[in-house]
Symmetry: C2
Subunit: 205 residues, 2 copies
Amino acid sequence: MSDSQTQVGRPRAFDLDKALQKALEVFWEKGYEGASLPDLTEAMGINKPSLYAAFGNKEQLFLKAVELYENRPCAFFKPALLQPTAYQVAEHMLFGAAAANADPSHPKGCVVVQGALSCSDSANNVKQALIEKRRNGELQLQQRLEQAKAAGELPADADCGALASYLVVQIQGMSIQAANGASAERLQQVAAIALQGFKAMLQPG
Amino acid sequence: MSDSQTQVGRPRAFDLDKALQKALEVFWEKGYEGASLPDLTEAMGINKPSLYAAFGNKEQLFLKAVELYENRPCAFFKPALLQPTAYQVAEHMLFGAAAANADPSHPKGCVVVQGALSCSDSANNVKQALIEKRRNGELQLQQRLEQAKAAGELPADADCGALASYLVVQIQGMSIQAANGASAERLQQVAAIALQGFKAMLQPG
DNA sequence: TTAGTTTTTTACTGATTAGTACAAATAAAG
DNA sequence: CTTTATTTGTACTAATCAGTAAAAAACTAA
């Protein structure tokens, strides 16, 4: 057990969480490779040696920022999985994505989608990490749908993998649309149409 | 009128179109910023001064490569707009995207989506050019749907802008799914569900 | 053969990249 | 006060970035 009050040495002059939040905003806007260290240190209000001492290196800083992104209070993905029915899961997922991707209080789109989609070879670790995160999210959604299927909410021949992919395509596509400048209202219209498509899959036949 | 046979000076030792095709493949895989000039020159089989003499600079080379991408024979977007009915337009668009995004004969996904989604400030011109291309494609699709609406294929209160956004979300989302490693079969399943959603919008009410 | 034109090759530029060495500064502990 | 531990700011490194200067090479025209 380390006692955070009895630390020896010069005290850190910045707040770790606030600095990470600032780093997230920079990565959110410019992506992993597009964000330079001067971009990051300026936004975080610290200099390079402080950044490296606190977060390791650029790659680790990015992964910690993404972790913060996924667990921030207004994240919609994990809470949507907890909805009581498959329809409500889809509804919360789609309208949550519509609201989050166009939220004016932060950069448009999704860090997990845009952070390192195409990149140089030197960013391949980060690219793969984001692919894993996207795949993992889709798998969680698929399992939630399979649970609903076992509960009789979906037809016996429903393909939960395809349905999960369909919903994830909506979320990821909305992320691109948001980067294009689409409004929250427009994304809500898309979510409504997509939800109709999902609803039709809940009926047998 | 310039006669290509009576050119004076040392003849170019490479094929312009083939070199551009190679550049496209590199940009397709690594994006605009992720593709370095050594990456490009090595793939194109030429050295830097030849590249600059033939194509201007990296930005112009990228834009020419994207133009080649959009007009290549197997591109699906523009041909889909020529289908006789709105339903067939959507059908060709969705299944065309499913096939193209997972085609094993070239890198996965879409250059227009992935080429410069998040980037540094110095790539903002390219980023904006791709946003314009995506918006323009969506607008063309919207106009095609409005034409179908005028022909009585869609309900009188149909929102062609929202419908076009919905279809574009499918295509752009599939591009991300393809980058995740989704198979062509899986993308076809998604296209089938999405088409059902679109079909439901063709009925009044 | 000679002059004129264009491409190719090599070698370079200045700027920027991520990352670090080192000493001054600031705290607690003895 | 001194010692010890940690963070800070400055200044640096080596590598890589896009882009170019200059001369040799390869062609046509005269």
